[in-house]
Symmetry: C2
């Protein structure tokens, strides 16, 4: 390939991220040309609605509503799938990869649901599926794990992978606002996805955790086989109590590998995390990922997890890697493709069962403020062999009280049983709420 | 190249890092083979002293004391220069690159002094010079800037690049120890380089800053043309005063690009930095780098900046990139080589003169504790148009006092003049000490 050739890119989808890619390739065109030695040119833009007004005017001859015009065009070097969804996107990603094309994507849901098939197609056809922008927006976490830390096996990867929920938790903590109040603000700022469950019930972050688990360990994990809990049940009292005990509450993705037992735990849930952890200090819409490798030790990467420009930054870095592939690096370290083909290694890697999780817990029980209620609660916990580390009690104005406890080492089964026994007590006014206390050590 | 071939690596130097590379390739051999599709094999180890006992036993047939045996051996795919120094290392790096070989290095001093020549040789001969391990140990900051953030122009890069000085500052802060006491401990832990000036006078970190400046902006900066100040003059009183004002004192590397004026400022000095900055929270032997790109925004990377294993992790990641190059990616995004050849771009980029730095400052003046001394000091500062933000005074046991001031916006010339006027006052007992207050915004 000559140094001065033009790399032809077809965009499927021209929403926020697509327009960000267009805009930032324009802004830094000369810099990119110097760095890459080639010219990145978007030659085709495929949209659903040809009539819609957009901030960026695309010349009409480049615009179409037919993805096949890009996918089946032999002159397009790189297909950039930014349309989202898992139907059309699946169809056309499959079709592009089957032709041995390079597909760059930000579509985490598609990778989670169909990654195994798509990477297998890429592997078989000589295509490439690049997905830096699918996890943690502008943070190059995929490249860091795949290339920067290639010497490592990964004992623990954890972090904050959803900016919207982190923004809500940060404002609840800083301003003493309730979840509902903060959610209202987050909605009006346009931070919350149309399908709110993605942000609030942890599904978006769980998708990303599943992708990181695959990248680091070569194993595809199903969303319905892991703990996935969102932030809706967190109250200001939980955050205050956590703070007084030296913790913050963060929605954490945890990918925990036990090499001795050859087990993998992938989970996504709100957690108490010590303020002394760097990740606990990652606030607002920022994302942060902590990676512990057996060679490098622990490293942390923090940056914008979403937004037009940050996501475009990652898409463009994948375009640059695609250029290297087009220039001959057809065996670029796409370890996940190898992992995928390497069935023996992953077949015997077991997913830790949800029940098997052990650790310390925080438990909030809403009770009638009457004599003996704390002793009743602690008796019930003792029956489940749960011993307590701290106890906080708060009188509420309506004559009820909150008992907020942290436990010593316990486990999911004990906590679930305890919550169920507590619920059936007359003095307990609502379903008790528990959060795991995360200890990375 | 066949999938199952062996990549032959020659190590020049077998000290701490060399043995770390050997050990960690052994430990994760099967993982690396799966990820890379090839076997990394160290075939030659060159040492100065063949007789020395080492923790790792190298088979005698692999061991020699002649670097030429590796550098001129056509069967060696990658030369790994871990011998250090700038004489023999320069000679053999040059010779390897001239043959179009791939050289992987951790030698920051060599890159700083001779990088321009070495990258030019690599460029001309088709060789490659890879240096992830030269900056910030295990943190893949080179890859992050070069590839992960390839879409960006870099307004500001700053951070902590020397673990030893950061360890000393952390212990001084946490335990209220003096510089000398902490240095003693750091020495006995083996944290301080044999040539102590490298760690204590900021030279090691300045080398790394110069490499990052080249990587990000394509300009070679000479060590003697930048501000380079170490940590020897920092006292417990400075740290306490900083803390009370909401700052920490960190030895910061700053690479500040003004795109409008097309100027570049590279500097290395102790600085007051707001505790709310993530980098301020990077303690002990950890390194941390904050990168602000025009597309991605600000991202921070934190990890171990030194040590056998962390550095080996980065060397091995370069070996993996070298494998990709050997497999055909002969135009892998080595943007710095392009920058280097791209004289037009860097010729007109001016280095900001040291004098031109402006900002806020901290100033410590040791005075006789007598009437009117504070007013005398502030008068002198006013003459230099330095206005004060805060004033702290501390009586010492010997009847003298420390005046610790922070200024509003000022500049190097004013501060230098003020310090010189102050020194000549009878009431001022020693050379005043100043530190810059760093504000990344």
């Amino acid at each position: 390939m000559s140094e001065n050739r033009t790399i032809r890119i077809g965009l499927l989808g021209f929403g926020v991220v697509g327009q960000g890619v267009w805009k930032n390739i324009e802004v830094n065109r000369s810099t990119l040309k110097k760095r890459l030695g080639v010219d990145l040119t978007i030659t085709d833009v495929v949209v659903k609605n040809l009539e819609r007004e957009r901030a960026i005017q695309v010349p009409p001859e480049m615009l179409s509503s037919d993805p096949a015009r890009v996918v089946d065009n032999s002159e397009v070097d790189i297909v950039c799938e930014l349309m989202g969804g898992t139907t059309e996107a699946l169809h056309f990603t499959r079709r592009a990869l089957e032709q041995g094309k390079i597909v760059v994507t930000a579509n985490k849901a598609l990778i989670c649901e169909h990654g195994e098939e798509l990477f297998n197609i890429a592997q078989a056809s000589g295509g490439h599926y690049l997905y830096e922008a699918s996890v943690a927006g502008g943070i190059p976490i995929i490249k860091m794990i795949r290339e920067g830390f290639i010497a490592n096996r990964f004992r623990l990867i954890f972090g904050i992978l959803n900016g919207t929920s982190n923004y809500i938790l940060t404002r609840m903590e800083r301003e003493g606002l309730s979840f509902e109040e903060t959610l209202g603000d987050a909605r009006s700022l346009g931070y919350v996805e149309a399908d709110e469950a993605l942000d609030l019930d942890g599904i978006d972050a769980a998708h990303k955790a599943i992708i990181l688990a695959y990248l680091a360990h070569g194993k595809w994990v199903k969303l319905d086989s892991i703990i996935c809990e969102g932030i809706r049940s967190i109250t200001g009292d939980d955050i205050t109590t956590a703070g007084a005990l030296g913790y913050k509450i963060k929605l954490l993705a945890v990918i925990d590998r036990d090499f001795e037992a050859n087990e993998l735990s992938v989970r996504l849930h709100p957690a108490f995390i010590s303020k002394s952890e760097v990740i606990a200090g990652v606030d607002e819409v920022y994302n942060g990922v902590s990676v512990s490798g057996d060679v490098v030790g622990t490293a942390v990467l923090i940056g914008k997890g979403a937004g037009q420009d940050a996501t475009a930054s990652s898409v463009i870095s994948d375009l640059a890697d695609a250029v290297a592939i087009l220039q001959g690096a057809n065996k670029l370290n796409t370890q996940e493709q190898k992992n995928c083909a390497d069935q023996k290694r992953t077949e015997c890697l077991e997913l830790t069962s949800i029940d098997a999780h052990s650790g310390c817990y925080y438990l909030r029980v809403h009770v009638k403020d009457e004599e003996g209620v704390l002793s009743k609660v602690s008796d019930l916990l003792a029956k489940q062999h749960i011993s307590l580390a701290t106890v906080n009690q708060k009188q509420l104005k309506d004559g009820t009280a909150l008992i907020m406890l942290t436990t010593r080492l316990s486990n999911e089964r004990a906590i679930t049983s305890a919550k169920s026994s507590l619920s059936s007590q007359g003095a307990v006014l609502s379903e008790p709420v528990s959060f795991r206390i995360f200890d990375p050590s």
